[in-house]
Symmetry: C2
Subunit: 353 residues, 2 copies
């Protein structure tokens, strides 16, 4: 930190992205990316758009919003696009939290929530999960602040039902509820269909996972028009051209190829169920994940060792050193071949004990 | 504004981007874009990268930083890339301004500075320009806050010399000086070469103007390593993957085609001088612009009328309703054909009076 940096950030500890080592070619099961290339329609749209890069992108994302409303059945003033869903989550922390309105979220969840709270100098309340890693929704009733829930939750993969989400919303009539659905397309129920019913609900999603576009940075928020207008006020005061031309075109392209997205999600679900079955045979314990990752531990093999040993074998998985997570690993679901390689490698490690 | 929006933003007035009407095809001389398509090397790099969109972009922008250091002669820890230069300017307002350290900038300058200050709830001091629209650098000596100077300034196009920039830096030893060089490639002197000499200097630039990449959203900051680390702390606490894969690749591509950039800048400079000469013949008054735009007024034709009448003729230029600017227009410099169309249209309007 330089001597010029404002002291308000002197305790800020940034988020740590998953490692992206460049020393060799790995099977990457550590950052929840899709193993599938983007849709051909993405490639076509992107190339066409790159020729017009000298012109600013459309701050209103008109074409993308149009394509989106046709697929999602919301009105055009009920959606906003951002530079990845991290950006809209940060905007939501800015818009809906302050000294009087803390952020409220599980103690174990997407690690960026506490960073956003620290960044924006808003108080936050972290609520413990149940012993089985599930969320006790009553803990979030009349929370006295803005509720942030990842559904499915990270890194557990456990999903709340739509009825549970409804209960949280209805029991916080005076506060916002933000449902972060980054992983919803792999088997959970989306709350997008509820936005017309509740004035205190915002749903965020990303094109990074189910749509194979992590590298394009495209996220969105869906909510009633007044809430979207709040986020637009922040966006137009921060970075009006936050979505670049190519990602915008890529987004239109992928929305015109929903069949490809659905097929890929189905494959991930099948590969997840296969991996769960095989790892259970090897003695692993795990949560019931509805995401494109699983959250596993082996009673006789430590999480940090498993990560280190698999890395030596060319397979990356995620591990955290936080005490409550240190027995666990998060493993992204890739292709069947990648998962078989993982299962085989794990089998070898367990046999070598 | 919804009832849930934090009251801290109740007075926030967002930045207004230049209009991008879609009702017909215009000659766009209103948002300082380049009239030239991006380099062929940009197209090649982008297409290649779009095939890998399922993978996150590199938060460290390793390849882009490498290409940059080869062209700009700085070290790899002396540069940071952002989602357009608006993002790094906002990060600088965050990092270097607070209740004790106001932002200090000219009253007439890039309109986003005051928005960033309001957004971040930091006090700011706006200093009047001289009557000829020039900056009196002594007004910024021992400014008691973080100085933001656009060089060339917007919308005047007037540039400070490197000696004047040095004087501002040296007379603010206890405060940061941010030099916003969005338009520097069209005839002003860059302060990038000074970063090794001063620990309180940060220079920001963009690929939007001289490199024909406004739609890619790629900006950067250059400063000593401690200052870049400050901005990295903010970036990694906001949006670590802020630069997408395609824009990153496009940036590498354009940096490998410096000849194309230089040639385009030279053409813009020539077209600017031609336009200045022709508009002066028609009675226009203007500042000595070193940017890819000119700042003009006609003693007998109002700024708002000129904008409205040119729009009817299919030509967009920029006008502001602020009292001090209302006589003026800002006209982006395009191709020779576009400028001739402007000159002819203006001639017709003046003849019709």
């Amino acid at each position: 930190m330089s001597k010029f940096m404002s002291s308000k950030y002197s305790n800020l500890v940034p988020y740590t992205p998953g490692e992206q080592p460049k020393d060799m070619k790995y099977i990457k099961l550590n950052t929840n990316e899709s193993p599938f290339a983007p849709s051909e329609k993405v490639l076509e749209a992107t190339l066409e758009e790159a020729k017009k890069l000298q012109l600013y992108s459309d701050p209103d994302c008109t074409e993308l919003v149009k394509a989106f409303t046709e697929v999602y059945g919301v009105a055009k003033d009920e959606v906003i696009f951002t530079n990845g869903s991290d950006e809209i989550l940060n905007f939501a922390f800015m818009a809906y939290c302050d000294d009087e309105t803390p952020a409220v979220f599980p103690k174990t969840t997407y690690g960026f929530y506490s960073v956003f709270a620290e960044l924006n100098h808003v108080p936050y309340i972290e609520i413990e999960l149940n012993d089985d890693w599930s969320i006790n929704i009553e803990d979030y009733f009349n929370a006295g602040g803005t509720v942030f829930l990842a559904n499915p939750n990270a890194p557990t993969g456990i999903a709340l039902s739509l009825d549970e989400i409804r209960a949280v919303i209805e029991n916080n009539p005076d506060n916002m509820v933000i449902i972060d659905e980054a992983y919803v397309d792999f088997g959970a129920e989306s709350a997008v269909k509820l936005i017309g019913e509740y004035d205190n609900l915002m749903v965020t999603q990303t094109f990074s996972k189910s749509r194979s576009m992590a590298g394009a940075r495209l996220g969105f928020g869906v909510a009633n028009a007044a809430l979207i207008q709040d986020i637009n006020t922040i966006k137009y005061s921060t970075n009006p051209y936050n979505v670049n031309r190519m990602s915008m075109a890529a987004g239109v392209g992928v929305l015109r190829d929903e069949e490809y997205t659905r097929k890929n999600c189905q494959t991930i679900i099948e590969n997840r169920e296969y991996t769960v079955q095989e790892l259970k045979k090897q003695g692993f314990e795990m949560t019931d994940s509805k995401a494109n990752f699983i959250f596993v531990k082996h009673p006789e093999y430590s999480g940090s060792k498993l990560q280190a040993e698999l890395k030596k074998k060319g397979i990356l998985i995620r591990h955290w050193s936080k005490p409550e997570l240190e027995e666990y690993n998060r493993i992204t679901i890739g292709t069947r071949e990648q998962m078989q390689a993982l299962i085989d490698a794990v089998g070898e490690l367990l046999a070598e004990r």
